[in-house]
């Protein structure tokens, strides 16, 4: 397929002999004890050296720090809602009033524009003790919802990434290692999934799954459960990762140390576990931040179309949607989550570049 083809032509060595990679087992374990006195101290393990070079990458460290702050703030969302702002971000607050500059102000004010029908929620107070970013149409604190939304968005992004990588590793390794008809079947399935327009696939699955209550054996998934967006987003990106992994495993399968192991009669499961998997793991690590970024943008887009996190739950995408009808009167409701999304995705990409440089220095992967 074209993207793979682009990679191979761009880098003809990708399919050829494998050099030393972090995490790779050396085929022959020579006894170095005798020579140790004459040699330099042993080189640090590939993991350690990769982490060291990542720590030297200032941009990546800054990006990681920014992500930590965002994750921390999301984790502390309940604390903010209960102790600082004193609001419930999930139930509507149509009659509430708050103290502002010593005056009591209703959270939802009657609209003065047009026919005077409807209400306008309170705008940003810029005070942390309540309605910092104002309220949405149901009088819910947007700042608290933004923090809770971060929880949902990051949780979905993270778990979907874990799902994608697990499935992709399983499929890619099986197809690449066993070859034959197994490879044919798996590759054709990936072809179909790959050709499917991502958003339309996600939309189709969401429509069907979100409105239904699914019972699979003893498990019941209620409509509106976070499991559904996680599963959908996790599945649609599997081909993106499974294809490069299959290619890598195909190359490893032909490498000398695997051939040697096969020749020695080492059982397949042992070769997979000891020789193939450690190599694939570094590839997977390189994919983590980039898939996170991709998943977060997909989740926010689906939630914006009301196909992800369901009301009254919050995610960054749903808040932008909630703010759509208030766009001209209370623009901050939509603006704030968008800014947070941009910062998160930029940070994930910078971290991703750093991780790729550290773990895959010859830059064989360009996800």
């Amino acid at each position: 397929m074209p993207r793979d083809a682009a990679k191979t032509t761009g880098n003809p060595s990708a399919g050829g002999a494998e050099g030393f990679r972090p995490g790779e087992r050396q085929p022959a374990s020579t006894d170095l004890a005798l020579q140790e006195e004459m040699l330099d101290p042993p080189a640090p393990s590939p993991w350690v050296s990769a982490f060291r070079s990542l720590l030297r990458d200032r941009a990546a460290v800054c990006a990681a720090a920014v992500l930590m702050i965002i994750i921390g703030a999301s984790v502390l969302a309940p604390a903010y809602a209960r102790f600082v702002a004193g609001v419930d971000p999930f139930s509507s607050n149509l009659e509430g009033e708050i103290l502002l500059n010593g005056e009591s102000v209703p959270v939802l004010q009657p609209s003065t524009e047009g026919l005077g029908l409807g209400v306008i929620p309170i705008g940003p107070t810029w005070q942390v003790n309540g309605y910092f970013l104002g309220a949405d149409e149901q009088g819910r604190d947007v700042m608290a919802r933004l923090l809770y939304g971060g929880r949902a968005t990051l949780l979905i992004g993270g778990l979907a990434t874990a799902l994608t990588l697990t499935l992709a590793a399983a499929i890619g390794i099986t197809a690449g290692f066993f070859g034959g008809w197994i490879d044919q079947v798996l590759s054709r399935i990936l072809d179909i999934l790959w050709a499917f327009p991502i958003y339309l696939l996600a939309i189709s699955l969401s429509i069907v799954l979100l409105t239904a209550r699914i019972e699979i054996g003893p498990f019941v998934i209620d409509s509106g459960s976070l499991v559904i967006p996680i599963a959908i987003i996790g599945i649609i990106y599997v081909p993106y990762v499974a294809r490069p992994i299959r290619g890598q495993v195909l190359a490893l399968r032909r490498s000398e140390f695997v051939m040697a192991a096969i020749g020695l009669g080492v059982p397949s499961h042992r070769i997979l576990l000891r020789d193939i998997l450690p190599n694939v793991v570094t590839t997977l690590i390189v994919f983590v931040p980039l898939m996170m970024a991709l998943n977060i943008s997909t989740e926010t887009a689906l939630s914006f179309l009301s196909l992800g996190v369901q009301s009254p739950g919050a995610s960054w995408g749903t808040i932008i949607r909630d703010g759509q009808s208030l766009l001209y009167s209370r623009p901050w409701v939509s603006t704030a989550p968008g800014l947070v999304i941009i910062v998160t995705i930029v940070a994930l990409n910078i971290l991703g570049d750093g991780v790729r440089d550290a773990f895959d220095s010859r830059s064989k992967l360009r996800p």
């Binding site: 083809a5 050709a195 327009p197 339309l200 799954l209 179309l305 941009i342």
Partner: protein, 323 residues
Amino acid sequence: MLTILLQRLAQMAFVMFGISVMVFLIFFATPGSDPAARIAGKNAAPETLAAVRHDFGLDQSLPVQYAVMMKKLFVTGDLVSFVNRGLKVVPAIVEATPVTLSLVFGAALLWVAGGLAIGIAAAAFRGRLIDRLLMILSLTGVAIPVFWLGEMTNLLSQNRLHDTLFFSWVPALGYVPFAEDPLGWFKALLLPWFTLALGFIGLYGRVLRASIVEIYQEDFIRTARAKGLSESRILLRHALRMSLVPFVTMFGLDFGALVGGGALMTEVVFGLNGVGKLTYDSLQSLDLPVIMASVLYASFFVVVANALVDIAYLMLDPRIRSN
């Protein structure tokens, strides 16, 4: 060469068949998705449900239903909406197509020009401040959600700054057919074009820069330098030319994906009645035939675009051709 072409066509046919089966199964055979219940409404009496089932042919076996659906979609073209029984699905899609094409074509022109400019400039100044700034800007462009950017554009151009010099020309949201009023068409689409293109400009700029920088390490660049060619000639004639292969591949795929539904967000935010908006609207009323038809058409478009890219690739790259 011919065998590869035929193989590619066979693969394309297989993928299309697979997609159509998958779409059909998603909508008609997923546990919990009972189309009859959707049509009859909530808490419908069992007799109503049975009547609806019979009426819409949902009581037949799945393969029969699949065949009937495909026949209505591709042979007779008379599939009707479940929600609005007067609405024929295929003509509705045909009607919406020019809107989507206008949007995507304009945006494509912008992002190719912008991507080339950014990629070449960053590669020319690689390692310097301009390069770093351009790359940070491109990354930000990639990170901005397109639906949010559209909302912000609307906020400024329709509301906050509408009365200023910059945006007083902006018409109300919606599409104006080119045949009716070319200038109005241009005005209505200019901001959507930029909104849709921004992320791609960033992405293409980054990819182009990376591949130019990689090609700078190849031997033929050193040879060109040794011949005494000027730096700009090396960049434009040698490095850029080689870098265009992945650029063109990406363009084909992204263009296909956008026509095939990827422009949905932009169409929704700017109120353009394209195929994406049609899908979105039928989504709100859970109108399965419309959703299914537009998803299928879109996927087929993507599959054809992918195949064309592959074939173009075959023609362009002698290494693949001889293999």
